[in-house]
Symmetry: C2
Subunit: 271 residues, 2 copies
C-alpha cells in the first residue's frame, strides 16, 4: 500500500473531514485552516492530494474553490458527494441564543429556518462549520450550525437536527493533485476558458461541444480577477479529454478564447 | 416632486447606503438589516424602491441577491456602479488585532492583502461592512474592513486605506421596484430561465439571442432551490424587452425552457 497524505479544511468533524475520510479511508489526513491552504499543501507537495468543496446543491458554487482552481497549478483527479445535515449546537443549558456561528455557506443553506426560528440572532460567518462549533463551546449566548459529529467533539448539545432549508442537501467535493487521473471512457471533464471580447462569444464557444454531441452538465462564470468585469467560464461535461470528439471540441473552442485549461478528466461520483 | 421611500442594507455608511444616496439623492432612505428585508419592504410597499448589490468586479455575484430576485415578485428598474475602496478600521490605540470583521464579500475582496498582513487573524463575517465597524467599536482586539466614511460614524481610526486586492474594485447595484421602467432603445435587459432537462439545452437557449444578433453581456447560473443539482440561468443583454428582435429571441427561448422571467429593461449605468 502506498502511504498518502491528504489535506482538508479542518478542524476534524468538518464536512470536508467527512469527505476526506470517505475519499481516502486509509490515508494520513492533514487538517489545515483554509481552502487556500489545502491548495498550497498540494502545490508544495506537503500533501499528495487535497479534498475541497466545489458546490452545494442548495447554495451553489463554493466560489473560493473556483478561484483557487484558476490561480493554482493543480488538477482535479476525482469527485465525491456527501449528504449535508446541519444541526444547531450549543453549550448545555444555555438560556439565550444571541449569535449563531457557522460557515457562510451553511448559514445560507439554513437561511429560511434561521429567519423563522431565530429572527433576532446575529449571524456570524466562520472559516468552517467545525471551527464555529469549537468557538461556540466557549460562549454562553451563542449556537453553531455544524455536523452532528461535531457535538461530542466540542462538548456541545444538539438543540435541533436537520435544519437545512432543503431536506436533500448535498455538497460535491473534488480531489486535487499534481497529476491527471487515468483516462477512462466514462470519465467526466472539468475545464475553464476566457472569451475573446466579441459579440456572440459565449454562443460560439459552446458550438464545438454541440457539434461533437457533448452535453455540458454545468456552466459557471467567475470574475477573471485580472480585469474588472471580465469573466472566466467553468464547464463540465461527460467525456474524457483524450477522446477524439472531446479533443475536437476543445480545438474548436480555442478559436474563440484567449485561455483554455482542462482541470481534469476523472471518474464520476457513484450514485 | 414625488416623495419616495427607498430601502437599503444598513447601517448608514455601508456601501449600499452610498449607492442609495447616489441613486436617490432626494428620497427618504430607510435602513434595514438584510438584503432580504430590502426585498420585503419593496414587495409589501413599505418602500417604493430598494437598492441592492448585484455583483462586484473582483468577487462576482452577490448570490443572495440573485436568489431573492428568483423568489420575490419584483422588477429591476435601474442600475448604478460605485467604486469600492476598503479601509482597515479599529479603535484608537489598540495593540493587537486578533479578529477582523467584515461582510464576507469584503473579506474576499481583500483576501490577498489579509493573508499577507494579518495571516494569523481570525476572519469573521458580518451582515454588512458598516455593522462590522459598529461591532468593532466595542472591541480591543479587533479591526473591521469598511468604507472610509464609516470611521468617524463609529469613532474608529483608519489604520490603512485601499486594501482591496484589485485597485479597480466596483460594485454594481440594482434598483428594485414593483413596476417595469419605461421602455427605451438604449436599455439593457436582465432575465432568468430554467432549462428543460435535455442534452445541448443551454446551447439551444442561446441560439435565439445569436439569431436576433443580441449580445449576452453576462450569464450566471444558480441552484433552482427546488430540486437538487437543478439550475436557473441569469442573462443580461443590450436591448429592451419591447423591441421586436428581443421579443423574438424570448419566444425562441421559451421552446427550450420551463420557466422564463424578464426581471426588467432599464437604462445602463453611466460610465
Amino acid at each position: 500500500m502506498i502511504f498518502l497524505k491528504v489535506s482538508f479544511l479542518g478542524p476534524a468533524t468538518s464536512f470536508s473531514h467527512n469527505a476526506a475520510l470517505k475519499a481516502f479511508p486509509e490515508a494520513e489526513l492533514v487538517e489545515v485552516e483554509s481552502i487556500h491552504n489545502v491548495f498550497d499543501t498540494v502545490e508544495s507537495k506537503e500533501a499528495e492530494f487535497g479534498v475541497v468543496p466545489l458546490e452545494n446543491s442548495t447554495e451553489g458554487s463554493v466560489t473560493s474553490t473556483l478561484d483557487l482552481l484558476l490561480s493554482h497549478n493543480v488538477f482535479i483527479t476525482g469527485e465525491l458527494s456527501i449528504r449535508v445535515v446541519h444541526c444547531l449546537l450549543a453549550k448545555s443549558g444555555i438560556k439565550k441564543i444571541e449569535k449563531i456561528y457557522s460557515h457562510p455557506q451553511a448559514l445560507s443553506q439554513c437561511e429560511k429556518w434561521l429567519r423563522k426560528n431565530y429572527p433576532k440572532a446575529r449571524l456570524v460567518g466562520s472559516s468552517s462549520t467545525a471551527s464555529a462549533a469549537e468557538h461556540t463551546a466557549k460562549l454562553d449566548n451563542a449556537a453553531a450550525i455544524a455536523s452532528k459529529q461535531t457535538a461530542p467533539k466540542f462538548g456541545l448539545e444538539i438543540l435541533e437536527e436537520g435544519i437545512q432549508d432543503l431536506d436533500f442537501n448535498e455538497t460535491r467535493f473534488v480531489v486535487i493533485g499534481l497529476k491527471h487521473a487515468e483516462p477512462a471512457s466514462n470519465n467526466k471533464t472539468t475545464m475553464f476558458f476566457a472569451l475573446k471580447d466579441k459579440p456572440g462569444g459565449l454562443f460560439d464557444c459552446l458550438k464545438g461541444f454541440k457539434d461533437s454531441n457533448i452535453n455540458l452538465t454545468r456552466l459557471e462564470s467567475r470574475p477573471s480577477k485580472k480585469e474588472a468585469w471580465n469573466y472566466v467560464f467553468f464547464v463540465e461535461f461527460e467525456g474524457d479529454q483524450t477522446e477524439p470528439r472531446v479533443k475536437k471540441a476543445i480545438e474548436e473552442l480555442k478559436k474563440y478564447t484567449v485561455l483554455v485549461k482542462v482541470l481534469g478528466s476523472y471518474p464520476k461520483a457513484g450514485e
